[in-house]
Each structure stands twice: as C-alpha cells, then as structure tokens.
Chain length 322, copies 2
Amino acid sequence: MSAPWITYRPEIKVLDCTVRDGGLVNDHMFDDGMVKDIYQTCLDAGVDYMELGYKASKKLFAPAKFGSWKFCDEDDMRRIVGENDGSLKLAAMADAEKTDYHEDILPKDQSVLDVIRVATYVHQLPVAVDMINDAHQKGYEVTCNLMAISVVQEPEIDQALEVLRETPASTVVVVDSFGSLYGEQVARLVKKYRDAFDGTGKEIGIHAHNNQQLAFANTIEAIIHGANRIDATMAGIGRGAGNCPMELLVGFLRNPAYRIRPVLQLLQDRFVDLRQKLEWGALVPYNITGQLNQHPRSAISLLAGDDKDNYVEFYDKLVSDL
Amino acid sequence: MSAPWITYRPEIKVLDCTVRDGGLVNDHMFDDGMVKDIYQTCLDAGVDYMELGYKASKKLFAPAKFGSWKFCDEDDMRRIVGENDGSLKLAAMADAEKTDYHEDILPKDQSVLDVIRVATYVHQLPVAVDMINDAHQKGYEVTCNLMAISVVQEPEIDQALEVLRETPASTVVVVDSFGSLYGEQVARLVKKYRDAFDGTGKEIGIHAHNNQQLAFANTIEAIIHGANRIDATMAGIGRGAGNCPMELLVGFLRNPAYRIRPVLQLLQDRFVDLRQKLEWGALVPYNITGQLNQHPRSAISLLAGDDKDNYVEFYDKLVSDL
C-alpha cells in the first residue's frame, strides 16, 4: 500500500480506560454524572470496550478512602450502565496480588461485566495465570496486561509469553508502564508477542504512557506492527503523564465506526473543568523518569510538594541514585 | 544493530529555534536576559546551532510592533552574543517574500551570523532560490525550509527538490508546518529527499510541530531514516502547538556531546514563569487542525477569544468548510 495511513484494519478494537487509569489521579472519586457521561461518550463514539475500574481487594484498600471505581461492585456499575444493552463491552481490571478474585469476581451470568483484564508484573505471573483461569471459567473474556515490560529481562519476557500462550487469555497487552519506550522498541515487542502467540488466535494490545510525549506515537507504531487491541483515555488522563489520548487515536483511526465529535463534546463539557482540579500530562519530571526508565512515583511525589519546579535537583538525585 | 536506539550517529546536528519559532507566540518580544540565558544554555548543552530570529522586512513589519528578534539587526545580536567565540553557530531565518535580503543580509564577514535559513512555500521557490544564491555568495552556510509540505502535490515536491538540488543550499528541511504528518509519512518524505539529493552531500533536516503530540516522535522517525539536521525548542515553545521539545530530544540523543542538565536548568529558571504568560502546546483545537491538515490560524484565533473551549462548534465549522 502506498499510503496505508488513510485506510483501516477492521480487526482493531478500542478500549477506553479513562475511569480506571484516570482514577489513579483521584483515588477513583469520579461522581456518577462524570462516569455516566464517559459511558455515553463511549457508546456515541463507537468505542468497543470501556474499563470501569478495578476489582481491588477491600482488605487491602479501605473503601472509605476510595471511590466506587476502585472496586466495581455490581450495584455501583448498574447504577451507571443499567443492563448495558448495546454493543459496548464493559471491563474491569484485576491486579495480581491486589484482588480477592475468588470472591469478588462473580460468575459472568451474575455480572454486567464482559471482560476481566488481569494486570501483572512478571514476577507475579503464577498468580496471574490462576486469575486468568478463574475468570475464564466464570465465563469472561480475559486479557492479560504484562506491566512494566521495559524493565524485564529478555529471557523472562520469553518465558512469560510461553506461559501465557497456554492460558485462555485472548489478548496480551504490551504495557509501557514507565512511558520509557521508543517506537522501535514498541515495534520489536509487538513483533515478539505476535511470534510467541502465532497460531493461537490471541490478539496483541498496547497500553502506552505519555511521559515522553510518545503515547500516541507508540500506539500508532504498535498498530502498524499488528496490535489490534488499543487502550486510550479521554484527554489522555491517567496516572502521572497519562495515556494515549482518545481524541488523537479516534482522529487517526479511519474506521467510520469511530466518531470524534462525541469525544470533543465530552472534553469541553467535562475535561476543561477537570483540568482545573487534577494534574496529568507529560510534565518535565515525567519526561525525566521516562528517559531513565523508572516508575513515575518519584515525579508524582515531587509534583505534590512545594519544590515541584526544581527539575535539576530532581534530576541530580535520580541520576546519583542510579 | 539489535538496539540502535542506545547508540548515536555523530553526523546529527541540533538546531535550537526557541527564539525564532517561540517568538511567533509573543511577536519576538523576549527580553535580553531571556535570550542570553537561552544562548548560554545552547552553549552549555552542546547544541550545534542557535536560530536567533528572523531577518524580516521592516517595510512589511513595523519595528515598533515587534521585538528585536523579528529583524536580527547586527547590534542587537552582538548585545547578546558578543563575537560569539565558540563552537555554537548562529542562524537567522529569511522568509521568502518577507525579507529585503539584498539589503538586510550583510556579507558574512560583517555579521555574527553563520547560517541563513531560507524558508519558502513551494509556490515561492524562484524567490527562495535567488535568496539561497544571494546568501551563499555573501559567504553563509545556507539551508532551505520547504514549508507546509503536507499540502503539496507529489509532482510539485519532486520538482522543488530537483530545483533545490542545483542550489548551494547544504541542507533541505522537511517542515510539517501544520503538525499533521504521521510517522510513516515523515519517513517517506525523508527517504524521498535523500533520494533526490543522492550524491550531492546535502543533508536532510526535520522541523516538526506538535499539533498531534507527534513532534518528538516524528523527529525520531526522521532521524531513523537519515535526517541529520534536527530542529527543537526549549519546552517545545513555538507557534500554536509548538515544536519538538529540546529536553526530550537531548534525552533521546546518545551523543555525549549533548547535556540535558543545562536545559532542565533553563526550564525551571525561565519557562515555568513563561508558561504563566504565554500559551502553547498540543491543545485540543490544534489537535483538530492537525488532524484536518490545516494551518493552525483558526485554532490560534479560537484560543484568543471568549469561546475557546467550544471544541465541537469549532470542529463543526472546520468540517463544514471543507
């Protein structure tokens, strides 16, 4: 093809993780009106999946300290989506070692959820496999987000993919948790995942972070190399630097099933105000942690303090601690 | 190479266009202290070229309405850089049809400038060629920025490159004026320019805009495909959505000649405050003009008005005017 960017691949599906990943900025304390508007926008924009939040353990996370979307109780979800009659599939994320999955993930016929997204670091893989099997047996579509892949050694990635190949997870997501990957690295990982799952029918996903202003570009790179499950958030909201912005992704995807106008409406109705209250985006401290391939927690901590613009001291400390 | 992104190509040279392109946000009214700090930062960071501004016609642009860097008079430049003893080369941009180049561009032995960057739309090419020859005869290194390439027809690009091949311009820059290009398109253009100048020794440059948060990613893409002259600005400042941020570029380039710490120092000393006064970046209206491959002037106008967050009305108007 001489200009592949003006065509589209119908296999591509978009997942909105605004409430789940954006909830990491405000302890998931979105009010119902906000979540309803995001839900309606996903419907109107033709988004395929919406992730409503986490299924976090109430033993580890005190419900009084978090909003509903940390736990995604059935009643809370139905208050927003009713029976969710329509084509939008609903997902929740289950973090390895932070989810009482045997109890809190109901059989699918008792839940409005369609998909369980198991998130795991590579060292938690055995737990994640048990969670994948549990959710699959309960009747869900199950995906696996293999997190922080930019700090995992090659033989461990290979081993993890070999293990995941044998699970019923239908999608495995390349997750650039630290926003440190460049496009060439994303391309290499997507190709590696494709090779590892060749013949299984499993799809590859991409979940990019924007620390180096590369979330959208890396998402495109993953798509070019075959990723068909794409994560994005409205206005790019998400922990720290945030995610691939839905308004950019939908502008790029040529599939007429997706519509940008409802996304723009949501941005002006809800996110102009939200930006006055919450901070996210590719700020300089996140640039630095991304460049150093580190978890953004040090930058989040800096930005919450009184000396948030002292980039040089922050940089010096991170480099001296290497 | 298995991981080319951890190596570097010594042929790559970085040009800082903070004062020139950033000056489009404030009519080039930077005070001397600011310009001196940017100059010192370029020296300290190992940047190869600094563009001080335009050589604009005083017949077209009233000097009372603009800062010194719209005109780059010799006295103004020397007030900042003295005799510019050191390795940093100084550049000014000369816009086709907006420059009295015969009079205002002095012979190089009377100027502190090293480089004249001739900027042209494709329909102004004959003027640009005369300007290139003029500056070359006066003793300068001359480059050519072929602007708004995303709206130029293929035969016209080919013709322009054929004409530029015969000029003494030593670099021709791929300029994504509207911030509309995706990485694949940038790669294609860089390859086309390389092919067109094969055997001439001319270098290819990249000047990206950030309307779709792709300026840094597209700059990397251009580098991968052989561009060796790279434009960036501190904090990404520039008209509208701005440019490729220097702090990201320097973090990516592995050449130890470049140092990020002075850039971070400048950002905290100067750009935290500047952001309170001037607005630039990949705001939603710029996303939209970028997606539609349009000049950002409509978005600049929207953002200067009272209804700046009405993205949907803005989008509807642009689409209905197509």
